[in-house]
Symmetry: C2
Subunit: 324 residues, 2 copies
C-alpha cells in the first residue's frame, strides 16, 4: 500500500522597494536550476497543527517569524507533479510506487522583506513568474505572444476561444485581476508553460524566445500553481478584509499604501478616489509627522487603526481603477 505524505508549502509575500516579492528557494535539479517555495514535510508526531509546523520550518529556513498566515488549498492530483517528499530538497520527483505526496499550500504576509542572507533563499518579484499579470503600466507586452499562442491552441473551437478571451482580456474583454489561477491553468492545459511538458515527462516545447520570456519562469513541482492560487486569493481578499496593512510598516504614506495595493492587484488606481474610500472607511489615521524622503513635497505619515477590527465588522479597500 502506498504511503501518504503531507507537505506544507508557504507563499510568503512582502513588499520591497514598492514591488511585491515572494520568498523562494533555489533548486539545482540535474542540469537546470529552478526556483521553488519554502516547504517542509508535516510530521504527525511532532506537529500539533499545520500552522505551527509551517511557522516552525519557515523560521528555521529563513530566520524570521511569519505574521499573518492563511490556508490556501490542498493539492492532491496525481498527474500534476506533486511536491517533493523528503526534507533534503533534492529536487527529485517522487518515485513511482513510492509515497503519494499531498501538499497543503499557505499564504503568509510579512511586514517587510528582510534580507535573510540565507543560502539559497531569495526574495523575487512575482511578476517574474507571471509576466502577464502586471497591468499597472497598461496591457503588459507579454500578452501579445501569449495571445498568438492561445489562438493557435484554440484553433477556432468556440469553447476554447471563449475561455481564452475572458481570462486574458482578448478582444476588449475586461481584465479581471483575481483569476490568476484560472489563467495559469489555461496556459498549463494549452501546454504552453514549461511545467506542462515536464509533468508528462516530455521534452520542453519548441517556442520562440519572446513567447518563452512572456510565459515567465517555471518553478519546481506544482509550486507555480500554488503561487497562482496565493496571488488570486490575496487579490480577492484585499477587497473584503484589511490585509494590506499586514505588509506595511507601522507608519506609512498614503502613496506608499497605494503603490502596495497596486503592486499586489497589478492594476493602476485612481489616487483621489482611493484616498476618499480610505477616508470613508476610517481605516487610517494621520500621525501629524511628515516623511521627508519622498522626492517632492513631503508626505504625511499614517498608521492603520488596528483597533477598528475589534469595534466593528470591517471590509477591505475598494479598488477604484484608473482608466488607462
Amino acid at each position: 500500500m502506498t504511503m501518504l505524505v503531507i507537505g506544507l508549502s508557504a507563499v510568503v509575500v512582502a513588499i520591497r522597494d514598492g514591488e511585491a516579492v515572494v520568498l523562494t528557494v533555489r533548486h539545482k535539479t540535474g542540469g537546470a536550476d529552478f526556483a521553488g517555495l519554502p516547504f517542509g514535510p508535516f510530521d504527525p508526531d511532532g506537529h500539533r497543527t499545520f500552522e505551527l509546523a509551517l511557522r516552525a520550518f519557515v523560521t528555521e529556513q529563513t530566520r524570521f517569524n511569519l505574521g499573518y498566515v492563511e490556508q490556501l488549498y490542498t493539492f492532491g492530483d496525481k498527474g500534476r507533479d506533486a511536491p517533493l517528499a523528503d526534507v533534503g530538497l533534492t529536487g527529485e520527483r517522487p518515485r513511482v510506487g513510492g509515497a503519494r505526496v499531498i501538499s497543503v499550500g499557505y499564504l503568509a504576509l510579512a511586514p517587510a522583506a528582510v534580507d535573510t542572507h540565507f543560502p539559497g533563499s531569495a526574495w523575487r518579484p512575482w511578476a517574474r513568474f507571471f509576466p502577464w499579470e502586471d497591468w499597472r503600466a497598461g496591457r503588459p507586452p507579454a500578452l501579445a505572444p501569449i495571445e498568438t499562442a492561445l489562438r493557435a491552441w484554440a484553433d477556432g473551437q468556440p469553447a476554447r476561444l471563449a475561455r481564452a478571451r475572458l481570462l486574458f482580456a482578448l478582444d476588449q474583454a475586461p481584465w479581471n485581476e483575481e483569476r490568476v489561477l484560472e489563467r495559469y491553468e489555461l496556459l498549463y492545459e494549452a501546454g504552453l508553460v514549461h511545467e506542462a511538458a515536464r509533468d508528462r515527462d516530455e521534452p520542453p516545447a519548441e517556442q520562440p524566445d519572446v513567447l518563452k520570456a512572456a510565459l515567465g519562469e517555471p518553478m519546481i513541482s506544482d509550486h507555480r500553481r500554488i503561487l497562482a492560487t496565493a496571488l488570486g486569493r490575496l487579490r480577492g481578499k484585499l477587497k473584503y478584509r484589511p490585509v494590506v496593512f499586514e505588509l506595511m510598516p507601522e507608519a506609512f504614506t498614503l502613496s506608499a499604501l497605494q503603490r502596495t495595493v497596486e503592486a499586489l492587484a497589478g492594476v493602476p488606481l485612481h489616487k483621489q478616489n482611493f484616498r476618499r474610500a480610505l477616508e470613508r472607511a476610517e481605516l487610517v489615521e494621520g500621525l501629524g509627522r511628515l516623511d521627508a524622503e519622498t522626492g517632492g513635497r513631503p508626505a504625511e505619515l499614517f498608521r492603520f487603526r488596528r483597533e477598528v477590527l475589534d469595534a466593528r465588522p470591517v471590509s477591505g479597500l475598494s479598488l477604484p481603477l484608473l482608466r488607462d
Copy 2:
C-alpha cells in the same frame, strides 16, 4: 511512526420546500445517536484526485451525482476530534497512537433534495445545527440564552466581550451572516457547544434546556465545524458568483429564487430591490410560461442564462436587506 490517513467529508446542500437542507448520515455511538456528514477515506492507490474520490463515495452512499463541487478547507488539528479513520463508520474516535487523520472538507450543491431512501442517510435543515444563524424572521430567539451564556463566559474581559458583540450582534451591532465559522469557534472556545467538552473527554456541561436547544444539535467528530465552514463560504460566494442557480430547477419563479437565497443567507431580502438587481445583472430570462401552483396570482417562470458565464465575467447577487 504514526500513519497518516486522509478523510474526505462532503457538505451536500440542497433546497427542499424552500428550506436549505444538508445530507447527513446517522451514527450510533455507544448510547447516543449523532448526525455526521457523508465521508470516506482517500485511497492513494485507487484515486487520482480528491474530487473524483469524493464524487465516487457520495454517489455510492447516496445514489446521486454531485454537480457543483468546491474544496473548503483541510483540517489537521490534533486537539480537535478528527474524522474517523475507517470506512466502517463505527463512530469510535481514532485511538491514541493509531493513525493521525487529516480531513479535507468539500462543499457540494445539488439541484434538488432527491430523497434517496438510503438507510441512515437523511436531509436535515441546517438551522438544526445552527439555530442562531437564521435571521429571516428577525433576531432568532436562540440568541437570548446564548447571549447570557457568552456574557458569563466573557466575565467582563474587554477582548472577549468585543468578539462576542461583533460576532453575535449584541448591543445593536450589525449582523454579519458570513462569519458562521467564527461564531461556531467562539461557542466552542467558550465551552458551550457539546463538541467542546467531548473533545476534552469531559462530561457534557450542565446547561438549562433552553440553552441546550439554542446551541443546536451536535455532530460527530469535527463535522459541525466543517458544516460551519461550508455555510460561511457559501454565503460569501452567493454575492460574487452566480452559484444559487446550481440549487434551482431549470425553470423557477423569482420568489422561489429569493426564498432560496434567503434560506441560504439566513436574512430577509427586499423583494423589489432584489428583482431590480437581478434584472440589471441580466442573469435570468422570462420564459413566458406561468406557474399556477403558487397560491395567489400565478408567477412567471424564469431560467438562468447559463450562457452569460462564457460571455463575460459575472458576479453573484447583491443581497438588498429588508429592514426588520
